[in-house]
Amino acid sequence: MMTQAPPRPQSKWPFGLFRAARIAAKNLFRHNVVIQYPKERYNQPKRSRWAVEQIFADDGSIKCTACKICEQSCPDHCIEIDVETRQDKTKFIHSWHYERAACMMCGLCVEACPFGAIRMGHDYELAHREPGLKSIDLLTEVEAAGARKKEAEDA
């Protein structure tokens, strides 16, 4: 449906100014809405997406099987998994390299992960001084999860 815009207001000096002043006064006495950051924090919803984190099982072991699906699904190519496949088909993760500074936190890697091994963290206090921290290793020198499972099956 189409509606025609209302005609222009006929200006009655200075009553419009008073109307604006009324709102200003009203807001002056309104309670402020500030979240005083270091003291108070906004309660982030469950779905909030910040930097990628590894999920660890209860015993502290990793869930990542180094299948590299996240690496392929990342549009920015921020994830690089340096993995060595041994002769017994188990995998050893040399490094799970994550370029945090370039990550746009879209969550596509988490959606793609078939094992639920990573999640988007809720920690937004990520600022750092050193340029070296632009990319970090989330995992270094660990057995991939699949390897342990295989060991357990063998045993």
């Binding site: 950051y37 920015d76 500074a101 370039a102 990550c103 937004y124 990520l126 750092h128 001084r129």
Partner: protein, 162 residues
């Protein structure tokens, strides 16, 4: 008639006064209203807004590089922009600080494969604080400012310890 030329650069008087000055510098960080892209809405506009209110920490915006202490590079820097970013940085009076905000300024972000984009603003100007995120929450930027303050204070302290 600088103090350091009178009492010497390593005298306790000079260092103590520098520490006091750094205390002031760290608590009065006026940032330049220079939004390049998406991050400017979070780091410059929402940050000044009622919910986050950076003014509590003495951090507010000035429209001119001459009045400001901090430049928040909030967005992708490309070839055309690099010239301007550099020029604005040189227009700011010393001491000046740069916060690289968001993935694009840190490393080119989602656009770093495009040859027209500079992969990281630290290739043009020195950067003090990197804030990951795309865009970071206003609180992340606040945290970045607190880190910058710490960095400013640490410098004077380190010199005093020496």
């Amino acid at each position: 008639m600088a103090l350091d030329s009178v009492v010497g650069e390593n005298s306790i008087v000079f260092l103590k006064s520098e520490q006091f000055f750094d205390w002031a510098r760290g608590r009065s960080l006026w940032y330049m209203a220079f939004g390049i892209a998406c991050c400017s809405l979070e780091g410059l506009i929402a940050a000044a807004g009622p919910r986050f209110d950076f003014d509590r920490h003495g951090i507010f915006y000035r429209g001119v590089p001459r009045h400001s202490d901090v430049m928040i590079v909030a967005g992708t820097v490309n070839r055309k922009m690099a010239v301007i970013v550099k020029r604005l940085y040189e227009m700011m009076p010393e001491p000046r600080y740069v916060i690289s905000m968001g993935a694009c300024a840190n490393a080119g972000g989602p656009f770093r494969e495009y040859p027209n984009v500079v992969t990281g603003v630290d290739k043009i100007i020195p950067v003090d604080i990197y804030i990951p995120g795309c865009p970071p929450r206003p609180e992340s930027v606040q945290y970045g400012f607190l880190q910058l303050r710490k960095k400013i204070n640490d410098e004077a302290k380190a010199r005093l310890d020496k």
